[in-house]
Symmetry: C2
Subunit: 338 residues, 2 copies
DNA sequence: CTGAAAGCGCTAACAT
DNA sequence: ATGTTAGCGCTTTCAG
């Protein structure tokens, strides 16, 4: 019971079974190298002492390990939980284990978890970078640890990456809104240091330009936190402004959820007064009070593919995959016939 | 670049800086014990070699560690992500780190992660048990590792636990439905080996009995997977049956989401034809096509409290907290005036 | 098939 | 203030 007691070690087991530590190690790692009788005796000792092998010592000696780490931006966002599941399923198939951490979009937290993973000798890390530079990840790779960029196109050829074309996604959403006749569009977005946000903005502006509009005039960007409360804040700001936009594009569905809620409370009808488009097409998007138009990303596949690259190992040539997003049109953006 | 190269060690740093390994270890762990000039030199060497200390060796030697593990039933369920956030916030305040794993309600996976955590020498584990027995957790505790039962009342006094009264929650939901005049209630539930499911059923039956009804006759239980697809399956089964219930209680909001979707597609109006109640009161519950009546649990606090107990250490007396759930009534269960 | 022994990289006495 | 050194528990030659 006392936590002060030394953990029982392989030596204790050896003593109890009347064999050497080498033999115990063998029944643990190469049971076939050991005679059935000795093995039984050792296994009995292990059970009696309820021995659990010390992973640190094992790893220190053996070096190798079958754990990989993943650092996502926000573990409470359903988009990332689904990506994570994709990773985990692929990894489990190869008997690898996943450790997940959330950077909360803070580079310091990303760095901290990265160091923690590296100190614990993970085989590799899959990370959604928080900042513009990936130098720190290149450094990790230099030290022989696999790196796969998650939901982020690689700026260098040597690092594998899986991404979804966010510029296209932003354009898809915006073009749709233009097609519906909107000329002034609000964009509830996160800070541009987050690549996804910068790219979706870029796409929106491009769609506007392609349609012959002036992006600076037609697009009203509001920077908000990337959750439901952010959507609430953003809409409040818009409602106070004069010259209110007739359409709102939200950088993710959580923000859209908050936007929808706030518009409803303010008595603004969606889509009649304001059209709304989200991003990610999370499970609940279709079931909201007003079913939400959204940009769908292959989140499960994104994770699975990344895990796949990770398992290929550091020797395999780097790969770069960019998936295409897809617009799913629902009621929140389609004005009823006049 | 080559992954085959030995990781650079504290000895390499010492050599480069022209000091002993002890000194390097000191600048790493007790910088004040070392003169500013030497410290600078060592820090320079660390930077030049981009040295990252080997956590396994460190831990093997030092024993202590500031990592704790959490094993939840289903990481894609918003309920558990919020519990996890609560844990993490509390832990971060004390500079502890959290490793999260999802058992997917499979005892084998729970056992596997438990072993993994133990092998890696975590300070403690917080787990939502998958099975009826917690003997394996008691064994872990015997070995000096902290154990806190998460979302599960402890069957023994010696193990700390945080829980929410699920019997009460089930009763709250059911009584509400009875108050609305329903006499035949369907319960889309998971398998009874999951404690939460068994308890909520127990609560439902108790509420029925208290109201003078025969639980066996008044309650139609349908066992489904605990996600949106489960809700879909469950409702399909109910729609095919004759003598269709007029109210449906779902064991969680994900199931309720699927139920709502399926009812709508089948042209069944909620709440006019069928009343619906969920469980967890996740963020989107209030924003659904039909705002969902649900049983709210203090998920963030649940996690924070558990983390708190964990940090108290193995020596502190065990604590047992049971939170009370709360019914949040919305449109999905309140029949409009006739 | 089994045992003895050499480290893996680090921390924490203990010396100097 | 800095250096020296003995292990932490395990895996893995190498002998027997």
């Amino acid at each position: 019971m006392s936590p002060r007691t030394r953990r029982t070690s392989i030596a204790d087991v050896a003593r109890r079974a009347g064999v050497s530590v080498g033999t115990v190690s063998n029944v643990l790692n190469r049971p076939d190298r050991v005679s059935p009788t000795t093995r039984e005796r050792v296994e009995a000792a292990i059970a009696e002492l309820s021995f659990v092998r010390n992973g640190s010592a094992r790893q220190l000696r053996a070096g190798r390990i079958t754990t990989v780490g993943a650092i996502v931006l926000d573990i409470s966002n359903p988009f990332f939980t689904d990506v994570t599941r994709g990773i985990e399923e692929r990894l489990t198939a190869d008997d690898y284990t996943l450790m997940v951490a959330s950077s909360d979009r803070e580079p310091e937290r990303e760095a901290r978890y990265l160091r923690l993973f590296e100190e614990h000798g993970v085989r590799g890390v899959m990370v959604v970078p928080t900042g513009e530079s990936i130098d720190h990840l290149l450094a990790v790779r230099e030290r022989g640890i696999g790196v796969v960029l998650l939901d982020h196109p690689s700026p260098v050829d040597s690092v594998s990456s899986v991404a979804v074309d966010d510029v296209l996604g932003g354009a898809l959403a915006t073009r749709h809104l233009l097609d519906q006749g909107h000329t002034r569009i609000a964009f509830l977005n996160g800070t541009h240091s987050i690549r996804q946000c910068a790219d979706r903005l870029e796409g929106a502006r491009r769609a506007l330009a392609d349609a012959g509009r002036d992006p600076d005039a037609a697009l009203v960007e509001v920077t908000v936190p990337l959750d439901a409360n952010g959507g609430e804040t953003g809409i409040r700001a818009l409602l106070e402004a004069d010259d209110r936009p007739t359409a709102v594009f939200c950088v993710n569905d959580l923000v859209a959820l908050g936007a929808l809620r706030t518009l409803r409370r303010a008595g603004v009808s969606v889509p009649d007064d304001v059209a709304l488009v989200g991003y990610d097409d999370v499970t609940f998007a279709a079931e909201l009070a007003t079913p939400l138009t959204s940009v769908r990303q292959p989140r499960h596949e994104l994770g699975a593919r990344a895990a796949d690259m990770m398992l290929r190992g550091t020797d395999a040539p780097a790969e770069h995959v960019v998936f295409k997003p897809e617009l799913v049109v629902r009621e929140s953006s389609t004005t009823r016939a006049p």
